[in-house]
């Protein structure tokens, strides 16, 4: 089999890291960092996700095909969130037109 057998110690160390990051994110929530509270919380969550994916889910030993599939998934997720937020964030930039029925359509020369 192509599977690598990872030592138990590795799993224990990764688990300890995950617990440490959980305590850290809970602790940071009690400190006022302004808008950076959310940023810090998400960065810590992202690190925890990487630990789980690479060690518990064996991505470290997975082939290129699995990595491409996962990257594609994250890419589409990024599109979903970023384009949706782009829409909502920029709606106020373009002034809402008056009710369309009250004015005559512009005439072009």
């Amino acid at each position: 089999m192509s599977e690598q057998i990872v030592p138990v110690k590795t799993y224990i160390v990764v688990f300890a890291g995950l617990i440490g990051l959980t305590l850290l994110t809970t602790w940071v929530a009690f400190i006022d960092l302004g808008a950076f509270n959310t940023v810090v919380a998400l960065v810590i969550a992202f690190c925890k996700m990487l630990l789980v994916i690479f060690f518990f889910m064996h991505l470290r030993h997975s082939g290129g095909l699995v990595r491409v599939v996962l990257l594609a998934g994250f890419f589409w997720l990024a599109l979903l969130i970023s384009l949706t937020m782009t829409d909502y964030r920029t709606r106020s930039w373009t002034p809402a037109p008056d009710a369309w029925s009250t004015t005559a359509p512009p005439t072009h020369p």
């Binding site: 799993y11 688990f15 400190i31 919380a41 969550a45 996700m49 969130i81």
Partner: protein, 239 residues
């Protein structure tokens, strides 16, 4: 292309192959190829799950931005200790799940059953704490639509952000944790199935794909919670 390890098996239906590789489906040449297909399949499924939860996360991001005060007020009503304890419980279950897969790899049936049962117990503990939290929401009358009548301190917490928008936060809370809990329940059911099969000795170091596939699913559900915990419990800070 990975070089073939041996000449293509001419007849995978032969008695010889069938007995040599228990668990090999006839469309695959060998267990290594079957294993690669199994893993790729579950990863593809998990990618669809990323998009499934991603839609809810995107909606959450928009409304959290629109009504931040209401969301922070609602978040402060959640018990941060229970959330943190549940995070630790779930991470622990991921550890025991990883050790289950390892036990299957090295062919230790006793350890495999033990770790699978431990994973089930930790998953059950998570669901128990979650059920207690849901119960608390009914006690405080902050269940959107079903039992929405906050009063006293709870009302004072929620009022600044607007009650309607606070209700929206709790809609998200129940939808996101509910979908997550549903995945947990399915996961516990799959673990039960694995325990029964493992006790019969269905898994060998050559064939343990079901353990690994359920393991990948379980870790994914863990990752969803890794994001739900800060987003639902920690927003707006606690200072």
């Amino acid at each position: 292309m990975r070089p073939r390890r041996k000449p293509a098996v001419a007849d995978t239906h032969s008695e010889h192959v069938q007995t040599k590789y228990a668990g090999l489906a006839h469309q695959f040449e060998d267990l290594a190829q079957q294993h690669d297909a199994d893993t790729l399949g579950i990863w593809l499924f998990l990618v669809t799950e990323i998009m499934f939860f991603g839609g809810v996360f995107a909606a959450y991001a928009i409304f959290r931005w629109f009504y931040f005060a209401a969301f922070a007020g609602g978040s402060h009503l959640l018990d941060i200790r229970l959330g943190a304890i549940n995070t630790v419980v779930l991470l622990g279950s991921s550890l025991t799940m990883a050790l289950s897969v390892r036990s299957a790899q090295v062919g230790n049936r006793r350890a495999l059953v033990l770790f699978l049962v431990l994973t089930m117990i930790l998953g059950g503990a998570f669901l128990g704490v979650k059920a207690y939290e849901y119960h608390q929401k009914f006690v405080e009358h902050i269940v959107p639509s079903l039992d929405w009548a906050p009063e006293g301190d709870v009302l004072a917490r929620l009022a600044p952000g607007g009650l309607d928008h606070a209700q929206l936060y709790f809609f998200f809370y129940f939808a996101m944790t509910g979908l997550h809990a549903l995945h947990m329940i399915i996961g516990v059911g799959l673990l039960l199935w694995l325990v029964l099969r493992a006790r019969k000795g269905s898994f060998t170091p050559d064939y343990f794909a079901p353990v690994e596939v359920v393991g990948l699913y379980w870790h994914f559900v863990d990752i969803v919670w890794i994001f739900l915990f800060p987003l639902l419990y920690l927003i707006g800070g606690r200072y």
